[in-house]
């Protein structure tokens, strides 16, 4: 509940901030449109040569693109930008003001930066998924829909906790902004179902960077080809990673030395 309250408080500030600079909406629309067009063109190109890609049809791949936008939009709404700001604050010593507030420090630092325009990506994701479902001609039965929502939430939780853990490293290494850049690059790979990649890369994209759990698994649930073991794995990871990230955060706070006097 605190978390939701903090998000709303910071959303208000974000909106106020946005209203100071009105050009952002246009830029964001443009950026999202370009990203969507790139995805669609590459799918069209691949399927002009073949009917199936590692067992995925064109409309199923469209579902993957939809999930890619949805999860990307959800995580970039506040968690990723907030963690980016956190890393910057550790380096510049501005974190002190966040740590003296009478709310849970981890909740606070994951909500301080809200990028309201990322709602656009979330909407694009939902629309693309809708189109993909229509194209596939399947209607989601309630159980399938429920499983999709579960793995989707699990995916968002896994990605968020994962980046949280990376960001916490800033307490020891101070300059870790590059980690987020690397993560973004790896996340790009999730535009395609990870099953099309060679096994070593699949492994990396599942366990090293949990893009597989965040995008491919929910997409598989959507198109009805999800293995129950993956479902169990995603849920388990969505429980273990946040707990670990909590513990790691506490360790980080102990190690925090503050930017010098």
């Amino acid at each position: 509940m605190t978390w939701l309250r903090l998000i709303l408080i910071h959303l208000r500030i974000a909106v106020l901030n946005e209203l100071q600079y009105r050009t952002n909406l246009g830029l964001q629309l443009f950026q999202s449109a370009v990203a969507l067009a790139t995805s669609l063109v590459s799918i069209a190109f691949v399927f002009s040569k073949t009917d199936h890609l590692a067992g995925w049809s064109a409309s199923q791949l469209l579902a993957v693109v939809g999930v890619y936008f949805l999860v990307g939009g959800l995580t970039q709404l506040f968690i990723l930008p907030s963690l980016g700001r956190f890393m910057e604050d550790v380096r510049l010593g501005a974190l002190d003001f966040a740590l003296i507030k009478p709310v849970d420090s981890q909740l606070l630092i994951t909500t301080r930066q809200v990028e309201a325009w990322k709602v656009i990506d979330v909407l694009i994701g939902v629309c693309v998924i809708g189109v993909a479902l229509v194209q596939m001609g399947t209607s989601l039965d309630p159980i399938q829909a429920m499983v999709f929502v579960i793995v989707l939430v699990a995916g968002v939780v896994v990605v968020s906790s994962f980046v949280m853990i990376l960001a916490t490293c800033a307490f020891w290494f101070i300059r870790v902004q590059n980690i987020l850049v690397i993560f973004q690059a790896m996340y790009e790979a999730g535009r395609w179902p990870i099953t099309i990649y060679p096994p070593w890369l699949q492994g990396a994209l599942t366990f090293l960077v949990p893009v597989g759990f965040a995008i491919t698994v929910p997409a598989e649930a959507l198109v009805g080809r999800l293995d129950w073991r993956l479902l169990a794995g995603a849920v388990a990871l969505a429980v273990v990673l946040p707990v670990f990230s909590r513990w790691f955060w506490m360790m980080g706070l102990r190690a925090y030395s503050g930017a010098s006097a």
């Binding site: 309250r5 903090l6 408080i9 910071h10 208000r12 500030i13 106020l16 901030n17 100071q20 600079y21 010593g93 501005a94 002190d96 003001f97 740590l99 003296i100 507030k101 009478p102 709310v103 849970d104 420090s105 606070l108 706070l253 102990r254 925090y256 030395s257 503050g258 010098s260 006097a261």
Partner: protein, 360 residues
């Protein structure tokens, strides 16, 4: 975060307090903080070597510091850069974990960061700001109000009061980036006090401000502390800040407390000389026989004399020449403090200063 109640018996007080006496607001015992600081020589080669093998040096920022501060007391922390003032302050504000030692603030262990504790204290840092840069000050205040859950009417009341005392007026509807440094600092201070904290940690609150702005901020803090019976711990290297606000000062140098007591006592202890300035109508011959000559000007002579000799020297002066005016004064505090830091060992001080441990 787990909720913890106030810890009553975590630290034994220095003095045996009679039953029913309120405990001091801040109790610190043997607090120590060391940092591992990476160390390498300048240059590319050294930098490359540093990537593979990091050499670190242990730096003692605060070394077994103990003191207690009563509720409502204003205490000034004095010391040169890197003395350990800010590190001590940050530990008491719950930002840093100590390497060893104990502390309680209002009965709470600060670094456990209990929400109840955090709600009752604030931190003002002269060189960092928490207000959001691009939006009007009032919107940043609203953010703090929401985070601290200050009820709307109480917030209005406090804001009016602070706005009045700090003369904020039209400033709070301007974006922070359009404010001058002095205006910004006043807005920062109000923002840090909206929840009416009872403990104030002020780290160089007047840094970089002009004299007028400094004076204004000093008188504000005095007013606030009076009104709310707030306990204030202030660091500054402007002597005037400390002189104006604190009756008690703690001199800290290289992580150690060199002096803890009244301002007057510091002068007593570290300034064994008094300054005598005489205006004379006839020239004073050979002023060196009265004391150490500081300056001789047209009709005015300034000399320094050991305290016990002041009366005798004054008598002799009055007998020897025709004096039109005579003043006896303590040397300026700045000078005294300077001498303390330069000599490092102090006459009659029990504290031994270990070689070079300052954190820079």
């Amino acid at each position: 975060m787990r909720h913890r109640g106030p810890l009553v018996s975590a630290v034994t007080p220095f003095r045996i307090l009679p039953l029913g006496t309120p405990r001091p607001a801040i109790v610190v015992q043997n607090l120590t903080k060391t940092f591992d600081v990476p160390e390498r020589e300048a240059g590319l080669r050294a930098a490359l070597r540093g990537v593979f093998k990091r050499r670190t040096r242990e730096v003692i920022a605060v070394s077994s510091v103990s003191f207690a501060i009563e509720r409502g007391e204003i205490v000034g922390f004095l010391g040169p850069n890197g003395a350990g003032k800010t590190t001590t302050l940050k530990m008491l504000a719950g930002l840093l974990y100590p390497t060893s030692g104990e502390a309680t603030v209002l009965g709470y262990i600060p670094w456990q960061r209990n929400a109840e504790f955090l709600r009752q204290m604030t931190l003002v840092m002269g060189q960092r700001n928490q207000l959001v840069w691009d939006i009007p000050v009032a919107d940043s205040y609203e953010l703090n109000r929401a985070i601290y859950r200050v009820p709307e009417h109480e917030y209005r009341e406090t804001l009016d009061e602070l706005s009045d005392l700090l003369d904020l007026g039209p400033l709070i509807i301007k974006p922070v980036r359009n404010l001058s440094l002095g205006e910004r600092m006043r807005c920062e201070i109000a923002g840090a006090l909206l929840h009416r904290p009872r403990i104030l940690f002020l780290d160089e609150p007047t840094l970089g401000l002009d004299v007028t702005a400094q004076r204004r901020i000093r008188s504000f803090f005095r007013e606030y502390a009076d009104r709310y019976q707030a306990t204030v711990l202030l660091t500054s290297h402007y002597m005037a800040d400390v002189e104006a606000l604190a009756k008690r000062i703690v001199v800290i140098h290289r992580g150690l407390i060199l002096y803890d007591g009244a301002l007057a006592g510091l002068i007593e202890r570290f300034a064994p000389l008094k300054t005598i300035t005489v205006d004379v109508s006839s020239p004073l011959l050979d002023p060196g026989r009265y004391g150490e000559v500081v300056s001789v000007e047209e009709g005015r002579v300034t000399i320094q004399v050991a305290k016990p000799d002041v009366a005798a020297v004054t008598n002799r002066l009055l007998a020897d020449v025709s004096v039109t005016d005579l003043t006896i004064s303590d040397p300026p505090i700045d000078e005294i403090i300077d001498r303390v830091f330069q000599h490092e060992t102090i006459p009659d001080a029990e504290v031994e200063v270990p070689p070079a441990f300052a954190r820079t």
